[in-house]
Symmetry: C2
Subunit: 436 residues, 2 copies
């Protein structure tokens, strides 16, 4: 079980206005990111309420020492890769020290206040240079829902319950929340036609996922044991694996998704650390009777006892019609990160089991995290049953797939009795019309 | 048709000993790479015979000016990404100037000789930091041969002749020629068994491919037209897409190859430029009667007229038994790069057609380039018909798949009447036993 310490105390208060009770970033969270304040170059920061604490500034002001200073030194530059590479020790030391500095009654309050940027005036960036991006498929309800559309009697393929299925994704097109997504064109073959066409996707979809930031990494040829795999995890984010279903459906045999996914992936820009998420760790759900035991290289008692996450996940849709009518975003789905058939440690252990090397700043996606019932599906493909049952909105609009001007917002929150709720911030992007 | 100029003249001679008539690196080739000489840090170089010309040294000695100097300046540092990003102009200027400097009768001979390293004493590195690696599947004979093992009557899937099938590969595990490859362990389900096993792969294979280095790249959301796609190509290499067939067979449905490929990819370390390959450009072979015309976004008259490559490709196998007996490497296969159903320009245009951005230093693989007949197959899966018909060696050994200690060597050569033959250098690696 991850250790809980003074930084998790629900009674902690911060002097930063609006931090206490902030839905995402109270003093118990302290996620890491890279921002450009209005007047400056990209730099490392920590989100607190509606402010961002300037990490290089903290170091320059002499407010950090020892391991915490080492962490901040590694965070110099335009990405956090070197900080991620350091592993848990310096990251925890930085968290502990920043928690002290931001508390009500901090003796360094004046110095720290001078290092707070208004979040609203900061531009957010990717928090690290992403070397490789791997997308898994561990949301079992999503695997069943999508598999059922192709194989009604046998939705899951024979390998699904034996290994965490994954594939290599495109790293270059990952963008932080707020970057518009251009509707892709591509080759499709509509049902009933013989010859394929080229044109804008008509079945554009989102996918609700968590992202996992890799920390130290492993050398080529040296697998990470499942019991040591959590040490490789430097943090989490939200991830929207945008998917053009019509392009994907025509191209993906036999080598898997390619252009149907590679046009864009949106992530929330804050790295929510394993420390911040410690209160929301839960046991991995027991496997249903009849499911196979994982092979030994995927099985660790401590991981089974506390390797899953209890996080409420949401998808909100804001259409031009809703905006024009002054209506709020439509809550399409509410799911939970507990619907993962494999833990993050199992994903890491499997990924490296053949010797593949992970590197600091690599990103893993979980795959779409749908819940078991309607209202908890993480994609429109599932929510509208392949476009057959539209979502109806208060504006009178309906949606089978995404239209230009639609904005998708993903959210994640940890909620547990006795602990301060924390959130991931938004993972948001608007669809804009394609080129040409 | 690519322009031929004075640098291609077959009559050119170099003062560098052994360069004239060198099978790979005569003065007509001049490929780019990154090497560490015995006494120094990694630096950019140009291969000439059995020597490597020091590019930073050439710049420091004042032997370059204008665009050629700009190219060498961009080659400072541990990777050639910034040089690749410059595109054809500076690259061509550098080639023209280096060709002059290395010729017999060069007035700068003494200064240049002082900047030549012995290739044998240099360590080779990856020539650029590889952001994303994409592997295509455009060798149609390979696609048919492997498809036939699953679907005897219908080896090619319906999309194959409409678009260049590709998938995202793993960039972190790409290594230069000479790096040993550790046999991967993984999950497999042998035929006739119900439960999967975990252990060392028993069906380890190579794949004979060309690699394509991307030059300037494109912005996210801005596709590259097929007629402009050659401008994105900064050079070529050999690529061995090592494949664990037993791991691949069990894992790959529905999202494609993952751990069966990601444990290692070996490339030849020299970037052979489009300029060096200009004499070996040929028309794309006409499609067989009944094959569909490519859609307009994949069709360009100039590309059809000169977008293919005539390069002889070879696979050699050197086993412990052959080495012990003092026997030469066994020539397993001889194929040709002309067996690509899609051109490199079509691969680039398709890859970016939905807006996916390519970046300088990205690498594309062509897929296995088998010829149509026995003796021309680019993998053991094809050569041994899935392991059923072993290769017999002069040492008395036989091989269905690779064993520990086996060394695989890939070669590529341009051979055309009236032009100096050039080669890619070796793409070589030995298999070593797995961990644990």
């Amino acid at each position: 079980m991850p250790v809980l310490d003074a930084t998790h105390d629900a009674a902690l208060r911060s002097f930063v206005p609006g931090a206490d009770g902030h839905p995402d970033f109270p003093i118990q969270n302290l996620p890491l990111g890279i921002v450009s304040p209005a007047d400056g170059a990209p730099r490392a920061g920590i989100a607190i309420g509606e402010r961002v604490l300037d990490l290089p500034g903290l170091l320059a002001a002499g407010l950090l020492a020892g391991e915490a200073a080492r962490a901040a030194e590694a965070a110099a530059g335009p990405g956090l890769n070197r900080l991620l590479a350091l592993g848990a020790g310096p990251r925890r030391a930085l968290r502990a020290r920043v928690s002290e500095l931001l508390r009500e009654g901090s003796p360094d309050r004046a110095a720290v206040e001078a290092l707070l940027h208004e979040a609203a005036s900061c531009r957010v960036h990717l928090p690290a240079a992403i070397g490789d991006y791997t997308d898994f498929f561990v949301g079992i309800h999503h695997a069943e829902n999508t598999g059922r559309q192709f194989r009604p009697d046998n939705p899951l393929l024979p390998n699904y319950k034996h290994l965490p299925i994954g594939y290599h994704g495109r790293a270059s097109s990952i963008r932080p929340s707020g970057t518009p997504v251009r509707r892709p064109s591509g080759q499709t073959r509509p049902p009933g036609t013989e010859a394929p066409l080229f044109g804008p996707s008509r079945r554009l979809d989102y996918e609700l996922e968590l992202g996992v930031w890799i920390g130290p990494g492993n050398a080529l040829g040296e697998p990470v044991a499942v019991g040591a795999a959590q040490d490789q995890v430097a943090g989490f984010c939200l991830l929207n694996d945008w998917s053009a279903r019509d392009i994907q459906g025509w191209e993906y045999q036999p080598l898997g998704p390619f252009l149907g996914k590679s046009f864009a992936t949106t992530i929330s820009p804050w790295i929510v650390t394993p420390e911040a998420l410690a209160p929301f760790r839960i046991p991995q759900a027991p496997r249903p009777a009849g499911d196979p035991e994982p092979l030994p290289y995927l099985l660790d008692a401590a991981d089974q006892a506390a390797g899953a996450l209890d996080l409420v996940l949401e998808v909100l849709l804001l259409t031009p019609g809703l905006k024009a009518a002054g209506l709020p975003a439509h809550p399409v789905s509410r799911s939970n990160a507990r619907h993962m058939y494999w833990t993050v440690a199992q994903m890491v252990a499997h990924h490296t089991s053949g010797g593949c090397n992970l590197q600091p700043g690599d990103l893993l996606g979980t795959g779409t995290l749908s819940g078991p019932e309607a209202g908890a599906y993480g994609s429109l493909l599932e929510t509208t049953n392949g476009g057959r049952e539209p979502v109806r909105l208060a504006s009178g609009e309906e949606r089978r797939f995404l239209e230009d001007g639609d904005e998708v917002v993903l959210k994640a929150r940890g909620l547990r009795e006795g602990f301060a709720p924390i959130g991931f911030g938004e993972c948001r992007a608007v669809i804009v019309g394609g080129a040409g």
